[in-house]
Symmetry: C5
Amino acid sequence: MRPSIFTIARVVLLLFIVLAVVPAAFAADRDKLLSEPGVYGTFAAFSLDADWGRQEQAIRIGQLNMLRGVVEQHREKVAIDLYLLRGLSDHADLLFRIHATELRDTQQFLLDLQSSLFGKHLKTDGVMHGLTKKANYVPGMPDNIKAELKTPSEPGSKPYAIVIPIRKSADWWGLDQDKRAAMMQEHTEATLPYLKSVKRKLYHSSGLDDLDFITYFETSKLEDFHSLVLALEKVKEFQYTRRFGHPTLLGTARSLDEIIEILAQ
Amino acid sequence: MRPSIFTIARVVLLLFIVLAVVPAAFAADRDKLLSEPGVYGTFAAFSLDADWGRQEQAIRIGQLNMLRGVVEQHREKVAIDLYLLRGLSDHADLLFRIHATELRDTQQFLLDLQSSLFGKHLKTDGVMHGLTKKANYVPGMPDNIKAELKTPSEPGSKPYAIVIPIRKSADWWGLDQDKRAAMMQEHTEATLPYLKSVKRKLYHSSGLDDLDFITYFETSKLEDFHSLVLALEKVKEFQYTRRFGHPTLLGTARSLDEIIEILAQ
Amino acid sequence: MRPSIFTIARVVLLLFIVLAVVPAAFAADRDKLLSEPGVYGTFAAFSLDADWGRQEQAIRIGQLNMLRGVVEQHREKVAIDLYLLRGLSDHADLLFRIHATELRDTQQFLLDLQSSLFGKHLKTDGVMHGLTKKANYVPGMPDNIKAELKTPSEPGSKPYAIVIPIRKSADWWGLDQDKRAAMMQEHTEATLPYLKSVKRKLYHSSGLDDLDFITYFETSKLEDFHSLVLALEKVKEFQYTRRFGHPTLLGTARSLDEIIEILAQ
Amino acid sequence: MRPSIFTIARVVLLLFIVLAVVPAAFAADRDKLLSEPGVYGTFAAFSLDADWGRQEQAIRIGQLNMLRGVVEQHREKVAIDLYLLRGLSDHADLLFRIHATELRDTQQFLLDLQSSLFGKHLKTDGVMHGLTKKANYVPGMPDNIKAELKTPSEPGSKPYAIVIPIRKSADWWGLDQDKRAAMMQEHTEATLPYLKSVKRKLYHSSGLDDLDFITYFETSKLEDFHSLVLALEKVKEFQYTRRFGHPTLLGTARSLDEIIEILAQ
Amino acid sequence: MRPSIFTIARVVLLLFIVLAVVPAAFAADRDKLLSEPGVYGTFAAFSLDADWGRQEQAIRIGQLNMLRGVVEQHREKVAIDLYLLRGLSDHADLLFRIHATELRDTQQFLLDLQSSLFGKHLKTDGVMHGLTKKANYVPGMPDNIKAELKTPSEPGSKPYAIVIPIRKSADWWGLDQDKRAAMMQEHTEATLPYLKSVKRKLYHSSGLDDLDFITYFETSKLEDFHSLVLALEKVKEFQYTRRFGHPTLLGTARSLDEIIEILAQ
């Protein structure tokens, strides 16, 4: 590809941003928040209003530095991940995934975000909450499957992220535990071929939102992710799913710097 | 946490607000309104418009004092509780819970609220009404369960509040009274383990809104609340629920002063 | 209640309004329109736009006098009732109930309303039409029930009004006439205890809107109205109702003068 | 009715409009387009934006003459009918019914309409397309019914027009042809009493929009139309209808001159 | 048709546009992207905001040249097709169909589009993604059908394009492979009479969006397309379709130059 005016503009912009002051921050114990049970995960999707793009670039860069400030400030307590939905999902531009031990901390971050000069351009498209739990192996699950489930996903960047909210039918919850367990084993087996290329994380939502589960995926191979979903549609448990998606959020994981660079343009 | 610029700004702001004149008020008999049958409970959720945050802080503080005035004025007749939804629920920022013996009094409060300088920035997201009734114990409910139901919830603040509107199916109402009673006993038993950590209140809505019930919860342990909802999804009565949530409103209970402080920022 | 600044403002305002010129008008034969069969009833719900409240009071009062003028002008042909929904229903502030022998006359009134200076601030939230018919007693309905149905409702003001649109299922219309009649008798019997405290009126809508019926209620005892709806949910005919409400409109009946006074604030 | 200021304003306005230049036009063969099979009928519903009514009358009249110009220009190729929905239907003010032999011609008309100075105030509320086909008599339909179906509707103006979009269930299309034919005969017989007072026209939509049929009615007796719909709800075929209306569009047929006069006010 | 003022304006405008500088571009291997399996197809529908049409023509032409620039720039990596929906579909004006080997490239194009001066007037109405796969012939499909399916569609322009999103029911995915195959054979046979006049392309969506398939059609004979859809509604497989359309997007395929010419007016 020839270097284009677009590319050059990006480089110049990046310089501007890197020169901005990045405040020091004691990061929350991110690893623990992202791996332990009993942690609340919040998915908050926002759109930028029409005024955002009409402001001069210098003003936008100033406001984006406010975004940086709010994120850095709260990283002491909560773990924050950012995703760019614009171009891949309808009606939302940005997704924040926030892990915290108390939803009050998440609320305080989002309050500060929304009352910042940057946040005044954000329209809330959706907020979903879920709780992480210990993997609850189906009783009688064969040991080889349990072992296989511990396979780590392939190393390397997984640029695509997908969030699919799920609500089960009342019939599902009305089944006795054995039947649910048998179906979950079939469900689990269907996922085995994709353990390496698609990373998954489950959040339990009942009562915290109009959902039962939030399923989160990361992959560099969307075709594998598509095959995984097709496989899950074919197991019996899927017939007890009343809502799958609506919305399905598809985006790309981005660092705070990348988000700021893109929105500054 | 290091004291930050954000924290300092909050303290300064608080001083400003505390110095504002708080009019004296004869409070409605709040305890009676919150505990007796035959009282109307209204849940009114509002969003702030985009102009709100664009006003200068001094103007916002002036308008928030109008909010204080309207609330104080009406506290003579109705009991008013406030909740901050922003950051935890989509599309609504504030929730007012209003208890009154006549809905006309509630309407007058909301009219005055909306025609105040503060209220002109509010967009109504939803209004739901319900009526409190005497606990209607299922005939034949064992005495030990009845006794247990009188367990008071643990003392101490319960910062989280959740509102879940409910509509039963036509099949539910078509069941004969015995079958409904048996299922309600199973439902009640499922709630027993959570009586201490999750406080509940029920409002009857049929005809006053597009609902049959409004269920209201307070807790400091969201995980317990989540487990309670999971338990309720598994009893038979849940299969006769046509609408559960939509929306589920999750927020934090806040005093009028806290709300004013947060919105002033 | 201590006389408050709010109360004083209302009195001053009332004086202003009463001094405005009220044009003489030959009223339509309101009693006939409200009692005879073959009359079209239209329920038109409106919200005020955000600009309304931002205008100076003098300008608002001027526009409200335009509202008065349009209503007075059309009262020659149509019967017009007003209801205040704000504070009790979501997303609509005002409800007009219009009775006319031809929907063209109703359309002309609403056109003139919407093109008035006041009407330019109205957003249409919903328009429903129905036709009044002679009470069609179920064949075989016992004479004592027929007699009881003629009980007039208690005299005295009934400040609350509720509008519930209804759509029956295709199965309902597919039943043979006898089965429908038997179920309507059960439905009718369930309403008898509430004849005195809840006044009812029925409009037939099929084809005129996406409804089959519009049910209209007036009461001073909302608790009785709630009990009536609960009783109607329990009869067999309710299982053939596909839509009940959505929206349920709850408001207070107000004179034109009261509406003008409230909106002038 | 006493001549009122409203009436006088209308007469003055009419003079203004009639004096505007009406360009000569070779009309499309309107009769053929409205009677032959293989013609596309488009129903396009629009609302006027809030700015429309805030413009001065002279400017509005100028823009309405642009509307006249666009309509006259395209009448060479397409047949255009106008309906006033405002006051009778929610959320749409105007309905254009356009008949053309190619949808490209309809698109060109609507493009020119929307890019005119008048069209810049239009918000598209809905566009539906259907195709006219030869009446497809049910095999075995008795000759007397076939004859009766040719009864022309009563002469004289039919001011009311109603558009009801229809989607059949998958079960309907899965029935064998004989069963569908038998049910269509029952449906047809139910319409016979209303042939004189209610004029009907059918458009086939599958694939052109999210519908299977668009049904269009004209009448001067809305009560007869209501009775016709009630009769159609009672035949067996109705149980295979998944969507009936949503929206039902009810309006009054108006000439271009009438529409211009009304919108100029 | 007489040459009209409209026609003359178009010619003048076209001259303006052709004189604008068209940057040279290395086109992506469009033929491969449009014919091979493993390619992602994105359908992104946009509306123009109300401000667009209020700008002076010279400004609009400048912004449209930005559109041209963004499209030319990205044609190195992705294949871009444009469709005009305005006038034929509700609520969307433009449709972009983008083929790419990685959705990141599609996202980058849409990001650059939306941050261009032209893109600031676009509101996203919907984004759908699907993956092309090798034709997966039903096992046991007779050879003559396989041969017939290779019939190329008639040459010549196919101005109309239709996009129909599809979601199958859980029951569909729960069927065993043989039953699905038998139904797909019946489905395929129903399409044979329309192979020549209606060109089709299938995209697999599960997991990438709230759909299972996106079906895309091109034709010059909308009546044939309508007959094809009718035929598909009658096969058994259709009963396992939970969503068909919603929205159905109907438009006309247009070159970038045509789109620019139309929007410049």
